[in-house]
């Protein structure tokens, strides 16, 4: 009981000063990362930044040279002692190609310490019931990925590591997986670490984000904190654009006003400093200017990512 309480207060994943080299090439360089219980932690980085190596080290598939790495209080080489409390879903769907979907899921049930779902249930959950009798090698990449996720959900893992989970999925598949991640997180408190190049998807689902660059975590925080202090832009659709521009230019907390459209119907875009959209709306309406639209735009993850890794 005491150990359970201790574990509950610890991060699900704790990485400190992790070094990993392939020969003389350093891939991970003093990497630090904590994943809190109940978080959906995204890991983003350029190709070759070390995302997959990090995932593989976390899951005990790769030895590392130095540093400390604990998953649910255990060294990665002892993850198996948790009897399925950690699962990994890899970039390449890791299933026996000669088995059918149903057989692969029966096999998962066989190796799962505490199965909580039947193969039929996870097939329904992932929308692959009609492929039940197909061999894994006959499936499309997207359906293999769905089967791989279904394979992981035979049990009730506390921590799921997903490497590029959206690769090969169609738009509907991406929506299903995003919804499933949110559902498992909300209903069962499942913690996720997921890597992807699809920054928009990560922005949609993640509570925390880490940016990995050249083997180091450059930034890791709650999504809200990542954008804190970064200036938001407000788009206002209105009439009497000339008057509105003058009025807004005189308002404290508004700067960098740009305008598109004519005087009767224009879009004014501006940067706000310690001022919310409601104040702008009130000022315009009181001046007799009709406002037909207001939209706040915070910096995107893509923009943040490019700012940090210095790419375009």
């Amino acid at each position: 009981m005491a150990r359970d309480e201790t574990l509950a207060s610890q991060p699900v994943l704790s990485i400190a000063a992790l070094d990993k080299r392939y020969g003389k090439t350093a891939v991970l360089n003093q990497l630090h990362l904590n994943v809190e219980r109940g978080a959906i932690h995204g890991l983003v980085g350029l190709n070759g930044s070390g995302k997959t190596t990090t995932m593989e080290c976390v899951l005990g598939m790769q030895p590392f040279q130095s540093g400390k790495l604990q998953v649910l209080g255990r060294h990665p080489s002892r993850l198996w002692q948790g009897r399925g409390d950690v699962v990994g879903i890899f970039d390449a769907p890791s299933l026996h190609p000669a088995l059918t979907v149903r057989q692969a899921l029966e096999h998962a049930r066989l190796v799962c310490g505490h199965p909580v779902r039947t193969p039929a249930e996870v097939e329904d959950l992932l929308g692959i019931a009609r492929y039940s009798n197909y061999k894994i090698r006959q499936l499309s990449l997207g359906n293999r990925r769905r089967t791989s996720i279904a394979h992981a959900l035979i049990g009730q893992p506390e921590f799921i590591v997903l490497d590029e989970p959206f690769n090969g999925l169609d738009a509907g598949g991406v929506d299903d997986v995003l919804a499933l991640i949110k559902k498992l997180n909300h209903e069962h408190g499942t913690t996720f670490l997921l890597s992807s190049h699809q920054l928009a998807y990560l922005e949609n689902v993640c509570t925390h984000l880490a940016i990995l660059h050249r083997g180091r975590i450059e930034l890791s925080d709650h999504v809200d904190n990542l954008f804190h202090g970064r200036q938001a832009r407000l788009d206002v659709s209105c009439d009497q654009a000339n008057r509105a521009s003058v009025l807004l230019a005189e308002m404290p907390g508004v700067s960098d006003i740009t305008r598109t459209g004519d005087n009767d119907h224009a879009m004014l875009s501006m940067t706000l400093h310690a001022l919310d959209a409601a104040a702008v709306n009130t000022a315009l309406v009181l001046a007799g200017i009709s406002v037909s639209g207001l939209e706040m735009r915070r910096p995107s993850l893509t923009q943040l990512f490019h700012d940090i890794v210095g790419t375009h």
Binding site: P63, G84, G88, P93, S94, Q103
Partner: protein, 286 residues
């Protein structure tokens, strides 16, 4: 132990549904049966030709020699094939799952690396045992359907009795089976050491054939090499001597020291390869 049992059940679950496993179990029995059929056709053809030409008249015939000889040769062929296929299967077993990534789920969720390797070794041995048992049973049944078995008799004189033949075949089989675990261990060692399944199978078969050729160059020292006792393409196993014995040949010279080595030499070699595999698997990237 729980982890090992889980891994073994998972291995057997996949093996039972794999065409590769079916091939390893069935092919040796099929090939040895085909060999028996071909030998029986050839034997019947020769007898017909001799009867028609009268060439066989007055020559001494050895009753029963063909039947026993054909059976032992078929068993030897079956065991040669079984040995090669088990080496290839053992090489594929770990490397194939590493390529597909299938072993990752087991290693993360339930099984240590060493328990998984041990389960794979046991799995290959079970498949090997099934393959040998099926091959021996089918070869015996087919041979019994094609020939009449009895003592080997020449001019009314019994050269070798049925019981003695049975004892020699039994000993020949036991001695030919003893090196198979070492052959499986070689396949496993190659499997955990190579980069992918294709490389593993190629290297394991190549090494086996190289060792087979190498043993001929080693002189007396080859007695310490496990492949010297394996039924193989360059057969020097005791089973090849049995093939001559059951045909009534009396010039078969059996070195008792070689028989002794046959019984113990493969075991330490197997042990060394298994321990090396367990060490490698613990530290390599999977």
């Amino acid at each position: 132990m729980d982890a090992f049992i889980t891994a073994l059940r998972a291995e057997l679950y996949v093996a039972l549904r794999s065409n590769s496993t079916r091939l390893v179990v069935v092919l040796p029995a099929l090939i040895s049966s085909v060999q028996l059929l071909l030998l029986s056709f050839r034997s019947a053809g020769e007898q017909a030709r001799e009867a028609l030409s009268g060439q066989g008249f007055g020559q001494t015939s050895v009753a029963g020699a063909d039947a026993w000889g054909a059976l032992v040769d078929a068993m030897s062929t079956g065991l040669t094939l079984t040995g090669l296929m088990l080496v290839a299967y053992a090489a594929w077993s770990f490397a194939g799952d590493r390529d597909s990534g299938a072993l990752r789920h087991l290693l993360i969720r339930r099984v240590s690396r060493r328990a998984l390797l041990a389960a794979k070794l046991v799995n290959v041995h079970i498949i090997g045992a099934l393959s040998v048992a099926l091959m021996l049973a089918v070869a015996t049944l087919v041979a019994n359907a094609l020939w009449d078995f009895g003592p080997v008799v020449e001019d009314g004189y019994e050269l070798i009795g049925t019981q003695e033949i049975h004892a020699e075949i039994r000993l020949g089989l036991i001695l030919a089976l003893i090196p198979l675990p070492a052959a499986i261990a070689l396949g496993t060692l190659v499997s955990v050491s190579t980069q992918n399944a294709t490389q593993a199978i190629t290297a394991a078969l190549g090494l086996t054939l190289a060792l087979d050729i190498f043993k001929g160059l080693m002189g007396d020292a080859s007695g310490y090499l496990y492949v010297s006792y394996q039924a193989s393409l360059l057969n020097e196993s005791y089973l090849s001597d049995v093939s001559r014995l059951v045909r009534g040949f009396s010039d078969v010279l059996i070195d008792p020291a070689a028989l002794q080595l046959n019984q113990w030499a493969p075991w330490p070699q197997m042990l060394v390869m298994v321990v090396a595999s367990l060490i490698i698997v613990q530290y390599r990237k999977l």
